[in-house]
Amino acid sequence: MNRRDGKGHGRDNLPDLSLEHDGDMGELLEGLKALATGFFTTLRHLFRKPITEEYPEYKRALPARSRARIILTRDPDGDERCVACYLCSAACPVSCISMQSAEREDGRRYARWFRINFARCIYCGLCEEACPTLAIQLTPDFEHCERDILTLVAEKKDLLVNHGGKNSEYNFYRYAGVAMVGGKGTHIKEERPVNLKSNMP
């Protein structure tokens, strides 16, 4: 209590209402001016159009790299990109991805079934990062809530789409995983071999 007595309370004063400091009219005026400014600001806001974006009527276009519903994409030839390597499943921190691998007659692997439990998924995007073939991708489409949690389990037919997603040109088997055909330097993005003997400084 003693601490508050005397003149030691100047800092704790309300600048706007400290009428007892008759000498401090400047302080009082300053406080009143500050109050008026505040009230004027809010009053002005009253006549502004609200900046709210009303969601179901107005949907803001999300960035292409927003992470929401997961899809399985196809390469430019129309084949499934997924080669059922299980890397996404291993990378998934909540273990929401499961699949069974199989092999096509031409030796290319694919997923016999592929299942993502969106009720567990945390949309971290690690599966997408782990995928060597750019098969699994996250899309900006986030509107898929359900009343029954079991309906959130997505099968391969729900996940598979008919386009290439973010990188529609990419085709894993053009780059890797196939026997070399044309000899050194003919592969995509591969430079001609350097002639060691003519490469003197």
Binding site: H9, D12, L19, F39, E54
Partner: protein
């Protein structure tokens, strides 16, 4: 039928009308506050339940009524259950002495537009508004939770610091009206509203009224970002609803009191008296919402400082001044 029975029936009808009116107004005041506050903050506010959110109060009520009524295990059960009723009842009871219209003749009988014209109406108002803090303090204490207790204590301490100024600010009004009856106070403002001659009283009463309703900048008892929700942290369902209701009925009642004491009550040109009264209450409520949308919460010692060192001395000075002018 004896006049006594007739008068009793009229009283019951008035009670019913006022009660329903108060509750409905309180419910819609919540909507008005949310909409108005939203616009002050460049938002829309509730606009989903019905057109312009007009059904929102009903949605809120249904939600409150159907929610589980939780009583904490360590709570003092009886007091915990009763505390919200104190707050709500106190707010509703104050309105009994507030005149909301001119005396009217119905079937040749004079019907005063007030539930009870007490000759000590003003003291009744103070008595009840001080009682209201019991609901807050006891509700906070009986919850047996730290936040609630702090909120309750703050409520009690806050009451001590503004109630005095609240009372003292009205002494000049009583001196001028020469009556404690609210009906007489309105009658005394036939020629001019008291705000013109008692602006200092008005400011003090208004500030104290904001503190009385526990609204920003004096919402220390429920300071949500310090104390969770303060004294009603542990309340849920309709018991929380009663606190909420009490708060908004209190807002209406204090709007009504400000109208009665300073703005000439139901007096006004052209419009019917009841409409004038409602308009005044509504304007006071809007200003309070505007204050809520603008000012930050005061710190605890600032409130004490304001109450004891500014409002009370100024109110006392005002009394002396008014007395001197009235006598001269």
């Amino acid at each position: 039928m004896t006049p006594w029975v007739l008068g009793f029936i009229v009283l019951l009808v008035k009670l019913l009308l006022v009660l329903v009116g108060l509750l409905l107004t309180a419910a819609y005041l919540v909507l008005v506050e949310r909409k108005f506050l939203a616009r002050l903050q460049i938002r829309y506010g509730p606009n989903r339940a019905g057109r312009y959110g007009l059904l929102q109060p009903f949605a809120d009520t249904i939600k409150m009524l159907t929610k589980e009524d939780v009583v904490p295990e360590a709570a003092d059960r009886v007091i915990f259950l009763l505390a919200p009723a104190v707050v709500a009842a106190e707010a509703l009871l104050i309105f009994a002495v507030v005149p909301f219209g001119r005396d009217t003749m119905i079937f040749g009988m004079k019907v005063p537009m007030v539930i009870a014209d007490l000759n000590i109406g003003l003291l009744y108002v103070f008595a009840l508004s001080s009682l209201g803090v019991y609901g807050v303090a006891l509700g906070g204490w009986s919850s047996n939770s730290k936040y609630s207790l702090l909120g309750g204590i703050r409520g009690a301490a806050q009451m001590i610091s503004y109630e005095l100024a609240l009372g003292l600010s009205l002494v000049p009004i009583v001196m001028q009206a020469r009556s404690f009856s609210l009906v007489d106070i309105v009658r005394a403002q036939t020629h001019y509203p008291f705000i013109l001659v008692q602006p200092i009283s008005f400011v003090i009463f208004f500030i104290s009224a904001v503190a009385e309703t526990k609204r920003i900048p004096f919402d220390l008892p429920e300071a949500e970002n310090e104390l969770g929700a303060g004294y009603h942290t542990e309340y849920s369902g309709m018991r929380f609803g009663l606190f909420f209701l009490g708060e908004y009925v209190n807002l209406i009642v204090l709007g009504g009191l400000i109208a009665v004491f300073f703005l000439g009550g139901w007096r006004g040109p052209w419009l019917p008296p009841v409409v004038w009264f409602l308009v005044k209450v509504f304007v006071v409520a809007l200003v309070m919402i505007w204050i809520r949308g603008t000012l930050p919460r005061l710190r605890y010692d600032q409130l004490m400082h304001l109450g004891w060192k500014v409002l009370v001395p100024v109110a006392l000075l005002n009394i002396v001044l008014t007395g001197a002018i009235l006598l001269s």
